[in-house]
Every structure is written in C-alpha cells, then in structure tokens.
C-alpha cells in the first residue's frame, strides 16, 4: 500500500512561488493498476517523483508499504558517462541483486545490441528509455511508476512492456501518468484525475475519462 498524506509541493520560479500540488491525499493498494490523468503541466510527473522519493514534498508525507520503483520515463536513474552494462552492474549492486544475471537480463530485455557496451550518453532517447525500463524490471519492484512516454514509445517495445507488466499483474502495482485516455485504458483498471493541484480517485475507468474530458 502507498499512502499520500496531505502532499503539498511548490517550486520557486522567476515569477514567484508556483504551487503544483495543493494537498493530495490518496491510497493505492497492492495489485491496483491506476491511471493518473491530467493535462500538460497539471503536476503528473511531479506527483510521480514525490511518490518515488526523488524529490520531497514541502508539506505532508508519503508512506510506502512496498518497494516502489523510480519514475520510469526518458531520463534519470542512470549514469550517462558509463555503459549500459555498467549501469546494470551499478543497479545490481545497490539493490543487492546478482551481478551476472542482472547484466544478462537487462541485455536481453533492452535489445540495445552493441550499444549496451557503450556510454549511455551516446544513446537515443528511445534506447535510454528501454534501458531504464529493463533495469527496473531486473530489480523486481512491487510497484512500478510509469510516465506515459514509455507506453507511447516505439510500438514493438511498448508491446513488450505491456506484456512484462501483465506477467506481473497479480503481484505488482502500477501507477501510470498520462494525458491520453487511450493509454490509461490499455494499461489500467481504475483511474484518478489530477487537476488544480488535487487528485480525485474514480473506481470506474469510464467515469474518470468522462470527467477528464469534461474538465
């Protein structure tokens, strides 16, 4: 279970303090697949980063009753000046996973070919995304935090992500942020709407999508 208690987050900008999240309270249970819908700039990515613990809220706190992945998207989680394989070794070390197996698993899932043994900064954004996703699957989290970019990515890999997540359906929880209702429909069983800094849960997917379109 993941529980958000009164989460507030604001950033300092040139135009003064800008509040992104204005008191988010929510509970996500084990095994749920929740799509979080929101317009561009609604704070979806910020919410994911706070749940992951990459950044900290100004007020409120996040309670994590299971292991939670880092936010899966284009950037982050890897070191760009070392190779994909070295990143796999690094991840294996910090998460206490067997080295050789992890390196092998990531290699076969990410399908980077010879790029796997080249520095990550030489990768295209699609390749980086594949590496990031493969790394997170190798760690085997209870809950995956996914930014929509992964789902949209090139279709063949998108399909494999869907499959990998489906295989873990019973065990794993999924929180996916997106501004495209179709993406949410493809991955999730319930949804929430993020607007004006607040999050509203809907048990019914169609209801959430209708509310999103109306907003």
């Amino acid at each position: 279970m993941i529980r958000l208690h009164g989460i507030h987050k604001s950033y300092r900008t040139h135009f003064g303090e800008r509040e992104v999240l204005a008191g988010v309270d929510c509970t996500f249970h084990r095994g749920e697949k929740v799509g979080i819908l929101g317009r561009n700039g609604a704070g979806k990515t910020t919410l994911l980063r706070l749940i992951a613990g990459v950044e900290h809220p100004n007020r409120g706190h996040v309670e994590r009753g299971m292991s939670v992945s880092w936010p899966l998207g284009f950037a982050g989680a890897m070191h760009y000046s070392i190779t994909g394989a070295d990143n796999a070794r690094f991840i294996a070390r910090i998460y206490g996973k067997p080295l050789a197996e992890t390196v092998e698993y990531v290699e076969s899932f990410a399908e980077l070919g010879e790029y796997y043994r080249m520095p990550v900064r030489t990768y295209s954004s699609g390749m980086m995304m594949r590496l990031g996703f493969a790394l997170s699957l190798a760690v085997e989290f209870d809950c995956y935090l996914v930014d929509e970019v992964i789902a949209v990515g090139d279709t063949r890999f998108g399909e494999r992500c869907r499959q990998a997540l489906a295989e873990r359906r019973e065990r794993s929880t999924l929180l996916l942020v997106s501004h495209i209702p179709e993406t949410v429909r493809a991955f999730c069983t319930s949804a929430a709407l993020l607007s004006d800094g607040r999050l509203t849960r809907y048990e019914d997917l169609d209801e959430a999508i209708a509310a999103y379109r109306a907003a």
């Binding site: 936010p71 982050g76 890897m78 070191h79 070392i82 070295d86 690094f90 070390r93 910090i94 998460y95």
Partner: protein, 251 residues
Amino acid sequence: MQVQLRVIGALTLRELGTRFGRDNLGYLWLFLEPALLGGSIGLIHHLIGHGLPGGLDVVTFWVIGYIPYYLLRGVVNRAPSAIVANQSLLYHRQVTLPDIIIARNLLEGAATFGAMVAFLLLFGVVTEEWPRDPALLVLGMGLMLGLAHGLALLIAVGSVYTELFERMVHLVTYLALPVTGAFFMVFWLPTELQRAALWIPTVHLFEMVRAGQYGAQVPTHYDMAYVAGWVACLNLLGMAGLRRARRDLVV
C-alpha cells in the same frame, strides 16, 4: 547500515570507472596523479637548491607537505560538482547525498594515501630516513581527509542554493595555499605569528604529518583535540545542511 555500505561501495566503483576509465593506465592514474605532482614539486625545490631550517631533506619536506595539501584541495575543489554530477542517481531512494560525497572522498583519500606510502618507501630506501612515527603520520592524513570531507559537505550544501561556490572554490584554495601550513613549519615563525597560525586547523595537520616523519628531529606544534573539534563541527553541520538541502533539491 548494510545498504549504506553497499551503496557507497557501488558508488566508489562507479566513480573509479568514470574518472579513470579502462583505457591505457586506467586506475593507475588514481595515484600517479598526486605522485607526479608531489614528485615534481619536490624535484623543483631540490634543483633550486636552497636548504631548509633544521637541515631537513628538501625533497622529503616538499613532498610530505604537498601530498596532504593535494588531498585537501582535491576534495574541496570537487565538492561543488558532487551533487550535480550524480543527480540522476538520486532516482534511487537508497542513494543519499552523504553517500555520494563519501564515495568520492574515499577514492581521493585512497589515491593520495597510496602516493604518500610510495614516496615514504622511496625516501626510506634512498635516504634511509624512515617515518619515526608512522601511526601519527597516518592519523594526520586521516584527520586531513575528515576536515576536507566536512568542508566538502558544507560546500555541497551551498552548491544546491547558489553557483557561487562553483565559481569561487578554485580561487580560494589557490589563495589559501600559503596559509594552510603546507610549506612552512610553525617553529620558523616569530612567536606572535605562531599563535595566529595555530588558529588554522590545517597548520596542525601538516605539523602532525611532519612529526610522524621526523619525530623529535625538529620541533613541531599541534593540538590533536583542537583539530578533532573542527572535524566534528564541520561534519555535523555539513550532515545537517545536506538533510535540509535534500528537501529543497530539484532533481
């Protein structure tokens, strides 16, 4: 605790990989760099050929002053970039800001320590002057690392809020060189100046290293408790500051 050790180990290995790579001499540069710099400084002063008060060996004096200074400067100069360079790794919750800085500084410490040992062995064989009190010398180096680490923590905190440190730190370490105590001994100074110099914690550390090397051959002045106090204060403030900075950090 176990997780922390695992993370620091992994970060150290990664740092080793990114700084020295796997090409040609690779990891050897880790200790060749300080060794070459220390050696050149020693050699230059040997060639210039002015003697030292107390009849100390010129090369030894400059090298055992320069290497701890290299440690201090290396750790402090690299501190402003520590967080920025590793920011993407903060995506992993178990990687903390202190871990990142500890890993970098352990590596820096190991490098300079390796260079120091190599030189002392060399001097021992060539001049038959072995360190009189190796434990004191090691302790001096260790406290230097602790002091530099504390400063590095505080500079890293500052780097989260302003770019000023990035811009100023090289200038400051350069200008501070004459007063750190790397290249003078306290007993060379008039009494008034001695008292002033002993306010500076690094002065004590260089004197400790010399006391470890020369023993009672020359008079040395240091107060271990005074330095330990500095180390403790800087580290505590630095750790507290980093806790705060982590909350404000935009990754």
